[in-house]
Symmetry: C2
Subunit: 443 residues, 2 copies
Amino acid sequence: MILGIALTNNFGTHAATWRMPHVDPNAYTNIDVTVEHVRTAERGGLQFIFIADRLFLYGNLAEANPLFNMDPIITLAAVTQATKKIGLIATVSTTFTEPYLMARQLKALDVISRGRVGWNAIPSYEPDAFANFGKIPPPRENKYERLHESIQVIQSLWGSWGYDAGKPDQSGTYANSVHIRTINMHGKYVGARGPLPIPPSDQGQPVIVMPASSHYGLHAAAMYADVIIGMPSSIEESLALRKTILNTVSEAGRDPKEIKFIVFVGFTIGETKQKALDTRRALDVHTDLKMQLTRLCAYLGLKQELTQLDEPLDPIQLKSLRPHPYDQRSIEAVRLAKEGWSPREILSHAIFDPYPTVVGTAEQVADHLQEWFEADAADGFMMNFDDFHTEISNFVDQVVPILRNRGLFHEDYEGTTLRDHLGLSPHYGLDPRIAKTAKWPDL
Amino acid sequence: MILGIALTNNFGTHAATWRMPHVDPNAYTNIDVTVEHVRTAERGGLQFIFIADRLFLYGNLAEANPLFNMDPIITLAAVTQATKKIGLIATVSTTFTEPYLMARQLKALDVISRGRVGWNAIPSYEPDAFANFGKIPPPRENKYERLHESIQVIQSLWGSWGYDAGKPDQSGTYANSVHIRTINMHGKYVGARGPLPIPPSDQGQPVIVMPASSHYGLHAAAMYADVIIGMPSSIEESLALRKTILNTVSEAGRDPKEIKFIVFVGFTIGETKQKALDTRRALDVHTDLKMQLTRLCAYLGLKQELTQLDEPLDPIQLKSLRPHPYDQRSIEAVRLAKEGWSPREILSHAIFDPYPTVVGTAEQVADHLQEWFEADAADGFMMNFDDFHTEISNFVDQVVPILRNRGLFHEDYEGTTLRDHLGLSPHYGLDPRIAKTAKWPDL
């Protein structure tokens, strides 16, 4: 089972975490906090941490910290020197940076980390991001056209210093420069001559991670990704998504076995389920629940507004509950209401997190992971925590031992590179199967 | 006296250093070597290290390592976690990267390093660099037009999260978001809306370093630079350059006292002058000296080729020596020939290094620095070493104590930031004196 953490902003995924007394309110800019979180994850043998990104200010700063990291790639470069084994995945958009610079930064980072880097390759689409580059967004298809060109140029640049160039020989040549070649790729959006003067890293080149998004996005992921990330809300949805992905991968001429499928999940861990709910509730106290309450009404199928936050639903309300039969969140909300939880307590179950979240004991968290994993719904999990300061160590100290006892999680890192940790086969340069079908004037 | 090291490629400035038995031939990709060099410099209280850059493969890889670092900003981000005080200056070209991304990476690096970052802001002009971006170079003036726009956008983005936004208050607001503002700058080449979601670093924002180059370059440096770097070949040339710089700075409406002037210098240090010459000679053995020999002929004013490498010049040759009266290198070459040094030995004096180089004892190195410093030829020095593995510690252990005894160099760092080390006044955002004269539609 592959386990990683979405480490966004040093606080956690809940907007009120920065207010908690045990949290450093300046954690957003404090690299020591990042290092501590990543070291804890490494202590637990987790395969990777992942840093998402947006190219604009996200969030209301009067109320809460910026939701995203200051700069994923700079942060991870710093983290390389404070960790040894854990994989480091950075999100970098293909929309605004030239491939030569992205190829250089990502491969330098991979070399410096001794082969532990993954690149979450995404295009940008948000008008707010384009505004920060003095531009307006192009049509949807265009954005993927540039992504295709960028990834192919980047992978070709990565491969431009061939393995056959050898290692420096002090009594002979520094490199066999016949195997360090130009690429001469010039497309509609981007191009580069090369070569990129960086030899192979310990894993060759960075692992490619991509989200399973819309049609165009999925098609791109099927062509290039070593790891595909999804956000299904149930095992059934995950199995269906996985099937779509595997078909698309086959259509792209690749073997579905080459690819790892990772899904989002969230956890709040407590000694008892009640303690976990209390932890979540303590965060919700600092949150304006009005919008969530309106949303809860809709998911419960109630026509009248919920006015009582701390009382269970009354018999009339309970009678008029109408779950949406295909919506997991709605079914869950109705079930909790019938069990007698108050609206605030129902919200403490984190039913409106964008991914399935378990608010419960370490056993319950392990059960969730086991159930999904054994149903073949995923190869691994991208974990989200409300509060990194407490939940990463809770997971490592309480859940990891259970998973190991059940034979579901490795006892130690299999090797030294991210490719080793994920069980991926070697890969260097642009995949020749992809190169064959791509339309480049000089290929 | 300000002292820093130009740390290019982990080996040194001589192309044969990678062949020396005491050198790790894989140092180009080994971050531990970089860390060791920087830590040694920090042990000596040196104010900064500086990483130059070229956006293409530079050098003949059959013969020697790539001349430049894999990626300056990624390397320095890693170094932040292995050092505490020393300043970290990265070269980043304004020609290919969008200002929002440069502003973000440089300020994130400045925050993560706790205020130790400098940005060597240069445009690219080499056709080889443009080829790696699928482009051809524009006319010379254009390249500075984009540099002006980029620096102004970047400094404005740096200032967009104002000091008055305050620190997070757990019982109140995260930030006073009135003081986190858009910049809305849109020029001919680049633009950004902002804000950049990064608060002030310990020194506010990165120090700006710029070279004293041609007319356009000097004009730009006079407008933005905190530190200006020159490469004069003599004290007289340095005094003249300094005067030109100070006049240009005044014309730009700034106080020349705000600016530090740093000059390039090179050292090979030995217990005796002869031992230093032997060190240099041991490197030259691995070098094809043919071109240097031809050059030496020209500088000696000889009409016939020099064929003897290891014999002093014969009486006929000595009689026909003709130094170029205004060329420091030629005068020096003739002086050495007359002293009886062989051509190979004359070359061991490093007379063809692009900056003044002392091949000699720690005392002689200290004398050179003292002479230039006391003549007011510079505020400090950008030091180059043939071999970082040995020369950085030679300098720190042997020259620094002499400089301290003579009262020329500080006993310890004055503060924690690069701005502190360089004695620069505070500066945040775009200088209002520059903003006033700049032509931006929305300013």
